[in-house]
Assembly symmetry: C2
Homo-oligomer: 202 residues x 2
Amino acid sequence: LGLGLGLAAALALAAWRRQRRPVREVLFFPSRPSCTEAVLVEAAAEPGAAARPCPCPLPQGDCPLSRLLRRLLSARRSLEICLFAFSCPQLSRAVQLLHRRGVCVRIVTDAQYMGIRGSQIGLLRHAGIQVRHDQEDGYMHHKFAIVDRRMLITGSLNWTTQAIQNNRENVLVMEDAEYVKLFLDEFERIWEEYNPISYKFF
Amino acid sequence: LGLGLGLAAALALAAWRRQRRPVREVLFFPSRPSCTEAVLVEAAAEPGAAARPCPCPLPQGDCPLSRLLRRLLSARRSLEICLFAFSCPQLSRAVQLLHRRGVCVRIVTDAQYMGIRGSQIGLLRHAGIQVRHDQEDGYMHHKFAIVDRRMLITGSLNWTTQAIQNNRENVLVMEDAEYVKLFLDEFERIWEEYNPISYKFF
């Protein structure tokens, strides 16, 4: 009986997933300075655990950054990240949280920008996350992520606090198999090309 | 009879437009150095005029840049451009050609970057195209264009030869009414906010 119920629940979930409208949204930045502590604590907490309110004075609630965080934190199996610059501490915490939760995280980034002040790349590597970078003159200028091989997140936004709070930026979020496949193929091409086995040390 | 035939043709065209699969593609860069002269000459030429082959030694044929040029050159009525940096001469020629053809071109750009070496913004203004820019500390970092209020072109690519030839970049091209509307609304918001009437001269 238990097995039957489990199967029924799985089928119902699969049917719901098929019927539910695919995510299609655009996040426009700048995002006013906001406290995203609740989003991160909620994602890290045991189910049912009560979150303590954050004592910081920043406004809480929905904003483009909190929406981006929630989209990323929905990952259950895999997260590919292909980013020119990554220095936003909140987004870095989200990625580390996913890694600890067992999500397979892979990051591709730009060699010239991974060492900038505040870059999170070192911390992410230290946390055990796989990172690969280019060895080219040109920039690895992509700014996209793929959640569970299902959702594409892409746009003009580098994951830096400067860009999030001050720049005009856009981020498309789409559950769209066709676009996901094209970007995933691009990620795998770059991932293989930036294999450390091929690095040249002059 | 002529009127009837014209009406029939218009209806057939409308039906064809409805049935034809909407454009959905991604252009990945870098694009190898290529001669795009044929694309530009073809677009500028009188119908039926034979194009002389370009004497330059660069390879011709399809490449991400030529595809981007063709998408832009398909504009018949309007072109909104919202770009952080614009210095690519070929893309600038395409935009000027559209302006001469009577397409309503409007450009929004970043104040700090519109004066960089090779920037096309001055030339485009000189050609009579409307350009507006920010007066903010943050960057106007968008990189999108909208063709005939029908096709969205957006991604990580600034329209510079450096980025086109050397960087890893992506450009999504989509005929998608929902996304077009969101980006068009963003363009109109910025266009109004950057109205020269509101510029402050310190």
